[in-house]
Symmetry: C2
Subunit: 188 residues, 2 copies
């Protein structure tokens, strides 16, 4: 909260971060096409030309705003696997999860966002498949991944009432047997 003017570099860094924050929020809410450079600039209280000067193009701004958290390494058993997947449900609304939302919001309509989504999901499939036995491990892993994708889309992006009003633990509880079934393990 100090009002003393920061040095030049500091001021620049803050402005850049303000723009990036506004971009993340708008991309996450509206998607790539409906988000305009002008709206980002307005939200960041800055001239549109500055956004271009700092980030080069709308495409590049999106690329930076829609960066997504890399999935943690593999090597889990079925239980840890399911637990970890369900844990991704309640990630708090931080800059990173905001970036994920931005990517997911546009993944069906923006080619580059689609490619990024395929890469991220592909990595998650690889990671999960490594912990699943059998020759259909990759297909099972893919299904687990899209199941979580569906839940996230329905919850965070479509905001379906039934999912919004339900507590996270309840969703996790109901989902656990389904995910467990996809690992190929019998019910304990």
């Amino acid at each position: 909260m100090s009002d003393r003017l920061p040095p030049r570099a500091e001021r620049r860094r803050r402005t850049e971060e303000r723009i990036l924050g506004a971009a993340r929020a708008l991309f996450a809410e509206l998607g790539f096409e409906r988000t305009t450079i002008r709206a980002v600039a307005r939200a960041a209280e800055v001239d549109p030309a500055l956004v271009m000067q700092y980030f080069g193009s709308k495409q590049e701004l999106f690329r930076l705003a829609a960066r997504v958290a890399p999935p943690p390494a593999a090597g889990l058993d079925a239980d840890e696997l399911v637990g970890h997947l369900l844990g991704t449900l309640d990630t708090k609304i931080g800059a990173l999860s905001q970036g994920s939302l931005a990517m997911m919001r546009s993944m069906l309509t923006h080619p580059e966002a689609a490619a990024a989504a395929r890469e991220v999901l592909g990595r998650q499939i690889d990671s999960l498949a490594a912990s699943i036995p059998g020759d259909d491990a990759r297909l099972r892993a893919a299904l687990m991944t899209v199941v979580m994708l569906g839940v996230t889309v329905g919850h965070q992006l479509l905001e379906l009432e039934e999912l919004r009003t339900a507590p996270q633990e309840e969703i996790a509880r109901l989902l656990r047997p389904s995910l467990r079934a996809l690992t190929g393990q019998e019910v304990s």
Copy 2:
């Protein structure tokens, strides 16, 4: 294949249908924003102004192109329920499923498509919940619905390799226990 000129009304009907078909295909592939009236007109071999004259606005054209099949009535037991859900996986690429794809493609970025998606999914949840016992029936039904949504999005829209190359029956076979678990039934 008869080359004799159809009467006026017939000719008009055919042109309208050609435009609507082009619109369905483009909306399904590109989404609302990236699909232009001009591109639809070009695909239908028609002047852009004619599209407007027949359908009034891009919005209205989308509304007609993205019409979706109403879900069949309820009153099933858990087995029929799961079977029916899995049956929706292999719906052939007809005009109706093309319309569903158009709606789904835009549901994350186009407000009206999102509203339509919420309504369709809501109806499916209602329908499923009627066949599920317990007070968490609606939540279970919602989860079954978004699970299928995730599979469809991953398969038809993101075109994930693992799902594209797998035969439908294999996907259905692996998914069945997961959906069954969501009905609240024990494993038979």
